[in-house]
């Protein structure tokens, strides 16, 4: 009485096909990642050396290293975070902990989501207009970092707000009912219990920012500038733009060089992501409720 019937046999067949089909599609997804990494390691791996990392490009960028670009990216990302993290966290705190639920708040939320959807080349033009020309910063690290900051802000805000809202409402109510102000509640309960989540979001954002090319192209990144920046008013080389330049703009570049640059970039990003995953695991281990 529990045996298969003609119809259930058919159902089981479909079931098996769907399972295998979905599994195959998922497996195909892994392929590009493996291929990209594989090609980069095979072709660019031999380029990687202390000299490549720590010396200036020479001979029309066909030889030498990438040190100014590496440092330039650190400057750009560092300053971008210096602007976007405090502003983003402040905005997220306001939206999550203070803002009343009305149309103004909803409009702000909508604006943030739309800001996240603006193409990076449009951010680049905005940065050129607002920071380079209007604010008079010129093409400089300052202008480029601010442009990157504006671009990363929505992501910082959304990641922070999500971490804040993951803190149970009961904790806030307990605090308020004992007479704590909103700020005391945030400072003593909400932030300590969401800070690792916020950091995770920020680190993921770093890896994205480091790879952006368009926003810095018109605002502060230089084609070829074989020395290190001395202040935020200088221009600088950057990894992403350097990769674009040696891949498409310079004649007679040895084939391995762009792959080497790309490999270093990917390694930077993967390191950041690994750090972020580590943080998240630490967060879960420490969770107290």
């Amino acid at each position: 009485m529990f045996g298969p019937t003609a119809r259930t046999v058919q159902d089981q067949l479909v079931e098996r096909r769907v399972r295998v089909g979905l599994g195959l599609v998922t497996a195909v997804l892994v392929l590009p990642v493996v291929l990209i990494l594989g090609v980069l390691v095979v072709k660019g791996g031999p380029m990687i050396s202390m000299e490549f990392l720590f010396s200036d490009p020479t001979n029309g960028m066909t030889e030498g290293g990438i040190f100014p670009a590496l440092i330039g990216t650190v400057w750009l990302v560092g300053f971008a975070l210096l602007f976007s993290v405090p502003v983003g966290i402040a905005a997220a705190l306001y939206l999550s902990e203070y803002a009343p639920d009305n149309w103004v708040t909803r409009a702000i939320n909508l604006a943030i989501i739309n800001l996240a959807g603006v193409p990076s080349i449009v951010h680049a033009l905005f940065g050129l207009g607002a920071f380079v020309l209007f604010a008079g910063f010129g093409t400089s690290i300052l202008a480029a970092s601010l442009t990157l900051a504006v671009m990363t802000l929505p992501v910082v805000i959304v990641a922070t707000r999500e971490s804040l809202q993951a803190v149970p409402m009961e904790f806030r109510e307990a605090c308020w009912s004992m007479g704590a102000t909103r700020w005391q509640t945030i400072w003593r309960i909400v932030l300590p219990n969401s800070i690792t989540g916020i950091l995770t979001g920020v680190i993921l954002e770093v890896s994205r920012t480091a790879g952006e090319t368009a926003p810095i192209m018109f605002t502060g990144a230089a084609f070829f500038l074989p020395f290190l920046p001395e202040s935020v008013w200088d221009q600088t080389m950057a990894m992403s733009l350097h990769l674009f330049v040696v891949s498409t703009q310079v004649p007679d570049v040895p084939e391995a060089l762009p792959y080497g640059v790309a490999l270093v970039m990917i390694l930077m990003v993967l390191t950041m992501n690994a750090l972020s995953i580590g943080f998240r695991m630490w967060l879960r281990g420490r969770r107290k409720w």
């Binding site: 639920d101 109510e173 307990a174 004992m178 007479g179 309960i189 219990n193 107290k288 409720w289």
Partner: protein, 258 residues
């Protein structure tokens, strides 16, 4: 009507109305809650008893679509007056929630949290005394005295709820509001917390919202019955359960609706 300066009542409301947006949750509530007794509030779900409770420490106000009219006096003082600081209200009026909600830090820090808000510079010795006093009062001291620095969220639910009561005591409240304090507990935990409520009744005016009529009957001196945002009846528990004055109270108590 009693004279407003007479502070023999712990809580006194006059024509209290409350709206959530356009929905009116409380209708002209005029109620005197006596000092030094346990008063229970009963009524079917959605009758406004929790809303009323939450007016007494002004915690409803964090929802900005809430609007109130009328007056609420605690110990003879209008707590809706413009010059009133919410911090001071909540110091005198402690609240215990339905689900035990200890904060995610140590037992010690939980008990001293409210006190640290009011007296951030208290000495270690003063804090230790308050800590022990509060935990003894809720009959938790012997169980936790050797692990005061361990996480409060790891305690059993019954212990957590007792801790949530203990953490109100260091700031010397007069009124304790409890919103279904036993509904997350098992029968043993319920009995233990009810016994604790009787212990505390000597020193504090206690107001308990409950769904559980047996609990109201066991664990309160006076009882308030609410229906559709109105106070229908208020009197000694023993009388209300035996000879309810209002037909609707009688029907509810007999379990004809609920």
């Amino acid at each position: 009507m009693v004279d407003a300066t007479d502070s023999s009542d712990a809580i006194r409301t006059r024509d209290l109305n409350l709206w959530y947006g356009t929905f009116q949750a409380l209708h002209d509530v005029t109620l005197d809650i006596q000092t030094g007794v346990v008063t229970s509030m009963i009524g079917p779900s959605g009758c406004g008893k929790s809303t009323l409770l939450r007016c007494f420490n002004r915690i409803n106000e964090r929802l900005d679509y809430v609007r109130t009219t009328g007056s609420v006096e605690i110990l003879g003082h209008d707590i809706l007056a413009p010059e009133v600081e919410i911090l001071q209200v909540r110091k005198r009026v402690g609240m215990v929630f339905q689900r035990p909600n200890p904060l995610p830090f140590s037992i010690r820090d939980n008990v001293l949290f409210a006190h640290s808000l009011h007296a951030p510079d208290a000495s270690k010795q003063a804090q230790d005394e308050l800590l022990e006093g509060a935990l003894r009062k809720v009959l938790l001291w012997d169980a936790v005295k050797d692990r005061l620095d361990s996480l409060a969220t790891r305690l059993s639910l019954e212990e957590q709820q007792k801790l949530c009561i203990a953490r109100l005591l260091p700031v010397k409240p007069s009124v304790l509001l409890m919103d279904e304090p036993c509904s997350a507990l098992d029968p043993d935990g319920t009995r233990a917390v009810e016994e604790l409520i009787w212990e505390l009744a000597e020193e504090y005016s206690i107001l308990i919202v409950t769904h559980n009529m047996a609990q109201a009957r066991r664990a309160s001196d006076r009882c308030v019955f609410m229906l559709m945002g109105k106070v229908i009846e208020h009197g000694p528990t023993s009388e209300m359960f035996v000879t309810p004055r209002d037909e609707r109270t009688a029907a509810y108590i007999e379990g004809r609706y609920g």
